[in-house]
């Protein structure tokens, strides 16, 4: 039997889904070329990066935190992968040179991302720095490090194999989409069916009660931020691989897109309430909107205005229909 909240939750999901379907229908009739298998896959591949970041962001926000560093972490870990793969690692100190295989480079990149996330977590739990500040600082630091590592230039020409994740298909489905699907699947399972997942809701719902029930709140937060960092690195892998190059500006401003996706998906910024499925819908709404407006050939100047308006509408539909606290 469903409760008030299940109903609401369902309703919310359903509502943003409604907004999404509405958009799809409108674009399908108005924008020729929008409703096609090609474009279907295209939208999916184009949201894949934002989706990876947003899943991590969802976990973070569910604990009542926020992560502004996802974009820069994406850039740095992408650059690390590209750099190691292209130039290897020189350690003049020991006049040593380390070459990297694709796998080695990718894994190192993922490690870097996770480490940066862990660092966020430590700042937030040990030094008790508000998540907003801690991750904002990381955002600047990681961006600076990226520019230093790349010397401000793009690292290009990373080769076929590395391009696999970003460009290839597996069983007819783009590898990027497989990757996101896996990420989303794991996240949903973890949130719904593991202790860790429930503790995330507990920490976000009532941190004090969580502590009093003996949960190790700090450890939970550490894990969540580390995961967010790792997923940003996955995003970095996808971007770098699909562009066959790592640019120092990669991921600039992605933090807002991803937070937007999460919130449009019905997750509350105060923590404790929300779902990864909602986030998927949120990401789709943004992706469909971007694609549709371009295919409709909306003049560049108008795109922003319309995009903003549509997002307001999409969320308003939710709220109006789930009215009553």
């Amino acid at each position: 039997m469903l409760t008030l909240d299940d109903h609401k939750a369902l309703l919310v999901k359903f509502q943003s889904l409604l907004a999404l379907l509405l958009m799809v229908v409108i674009f399908s009739v108005s924008a020729k070329g929008f409703f096609s298998t090609d474009n279907f896959w295209l939208v999916l591949t184009q949201i894949s990066v934002n989706l990876c970041l947003s899943v991590g962001m969802t976990l973070v926000i569910l604990t009542g935190g926020i992560d502004l560093s996802v974009g820069s972490v994406l850039a740095l870990s992408g650059a690390v992968m590209a750099g190691l793969l292209k130039n290897g690692l020189e350690l003049p100190a020991f006049n040593l040179f380390v070459g990297f295989t694709v796998l080695g480079a990718v894994l190192t990149g993922l490690l870097v991302g996770s480490f940066l996330g862990l660092f966020n977590g430590l700042m937030i739990t040990v030094l008790r720095i508000p998540p907003f500040v801690a991750t904002l600082a990381m955002m600047t630091i990681a961006r600076g490090l990226t520019q230093l590592w790349t010397g401000g230039a793009a690292i290009t020409g990373l080769g076929e194999i590395f391009g696999y994740v970003g460009t290839d298909r597996l069983a007819g489905v783009p590898v990027r989409v497989w990757t996101c699907a896996a990420v989303v699947g794991f996240a949903i399972l973890a949130l719904k069916r593991t202790r860790f997942g429930r503790y995330i809701y507990a920490v976000g719902g009532n941190e004090r009660a969580a502590k009093l029930s003996g949960l190790n709140v700090n450890r939970i937060k550490l894990r969540v931020y580390t995961i967010a960092g790792a997923l940003s690195a996955v995003g970095g892998l996808i971007v770098t691989s699909k562009l066959d190059s790592a640019t120092p500006v990669a991921g600039d401003g992605y933090e807002l897109d991803s937070i937007a996706a999460v919130v449009i998906g019905g997750t509350s910024l105060s923590g404790g309430k929300g779902s990864v499925l909602g986030t998927v819908v949120g990401t789709l709404i943004i992706g469909v909107l971007n694609s549709g407006l371009i295919i409709l050939r909306v003049p560049p100047f108008w795109q922003k205005v319309i995009k903003g308006g549509v997002i307001l509408l999409a969320v308003a539909i939710d709220k109006l229909n789930t009215k009553e606290q």
């Binding site: 924008a31 070329g33 184009q46 401000g152 793009a154 020409g157 640019t247 120092p248 371009i294 050939r297």
Partner: protein
């Protein structure tokens, strides 16, 4: 590049004064080259140069000018964020008696800058446009990717291009979208455009980063060999791509040449020279598969 900076720092001992390099953005490799070259050249000439990143924000740029004026710099090597917006900043410097040498981008005012070493974006794109028409043999569908919509160079380039291309009714622009001079955005935008217009023949991009993104999108769609991509800047990737026959043409601006000239003029100014021509146009050269041999990243083979 760290090394370069050290070498510049190494000259401090006999430093003849401070020179500020205020650059519109370091988000784009092209400008990084511009700034680094200016800094290095100034260093070689015995000055201590510092780079300021305006991050495409005229207000930040104005802060930099204020700092430079208070900091008692001898000259400013300046790459403006906005031809109009930056005028006030240059004026301020002039009133404070600090000469400003504009590089690559102009400020729309006479006699405020000591000299303006300009890469003529408009003319460059006119030439590019003419080559475009030739390559398209005067007919076909094309897409234009604009840069940052608030950036006057975005429009200089677009206007220069259209001043030629629009005279040929056979050439139809099926889509014009902004991609913020960004590689990733360019790829995503063009991918979407291709959904509605699978049959385009060419893409004109407001800079090389976008050209690379556009090429990536076409490659992903398996159209790389059917659609011609045109860029602008002369960035490393694009020069290589032209050599590999991936991209058709770009307009080579000479960041290094311009930066060096600016540094040298600043040196002369400090040594007392005053009569600089207001505007020193540095022609943008069309780089194509035919003449690619002559060029390298950001410049000519010869003077590299």
């Amino acid at each position: 590049k760290q090394k370069k900076q050290e070498s510049a720092g190494g000259q401090e001992a006999r430093s003849k004064g401070n020179i500020a390099v205020i650059v519109s953005t370091l988000n784009n490799p092209w400008f990084v080259v511009l700034a680094d070259t200016a800094k290095t050249r100034a260093g070689e000439l015995g000055y201590e140069a510092t780079i300021f990143d305006s991050q495409n924000d005229t207000a930040k740029e104005s802060d930099h000018f204020e700092n430079v004026i208070v900091g008692g710099y001898a000259a400013i090597l300046f790459n403006p964020t906005d031809a109009d917006g930056s005028i006030a900043n240059v004026k301020k410097a002039k009133e404070a008696g600090i000469p400003t040498f504009c590089i690559d981008r102009e400020v729309n005012a006479n006699d405020v800058a000591a000299a303006q070493i300009l890469s003529d974006n408009y003319a460059g794109c006119v030439e590019l446009g003419q080559y475009f028409v030739k390559k398209m043999s005067q007919k076909g569908k094309y897409v234009e990717l604009l840069g940052i919509l608030g950036d006057n160079n975005t429009w200089n380039r677009s206007k220069g291009f259209h001043s030629v291309v629009d005279n040929y009714p056979g050439l139809k622009m099926v889509a014009q979208q902004g991609a913020e001079f960004d590689r990733t955005k360019a790829m995503d935008v063009l991918e979407s455009i291709l959904q509605a217009n699978p049959d385009i023949d060419a893409v004109f991009c407001g800079n090389d980063a976008m050209a690379m993104g556009a090429y990536q999108a076409l490659a992903a769609a398996g159209k790389a060999d059917k659609v011609m991509v045109f860029g602008f800047d002369g960035a490393k990737d694009v020069i290589d791509s032209i050599r590999d026959g991936k991209i058709v043409a770009t307009g080579m601006q000479f960041p290094k040449r311009m930066a060096r000239m600016a540094a040298e003029q600043a040196d002369e100014y400090i040594k007392g020279k005053r009569d600089f021509p207001q505007k020193i146009p540095v022609a943008v050269e069309l780089v194509t598969r035919e003449n690619i041999a002559k060029y390298t990243a950001y410049g000519r083979q010869s003077n590299e």
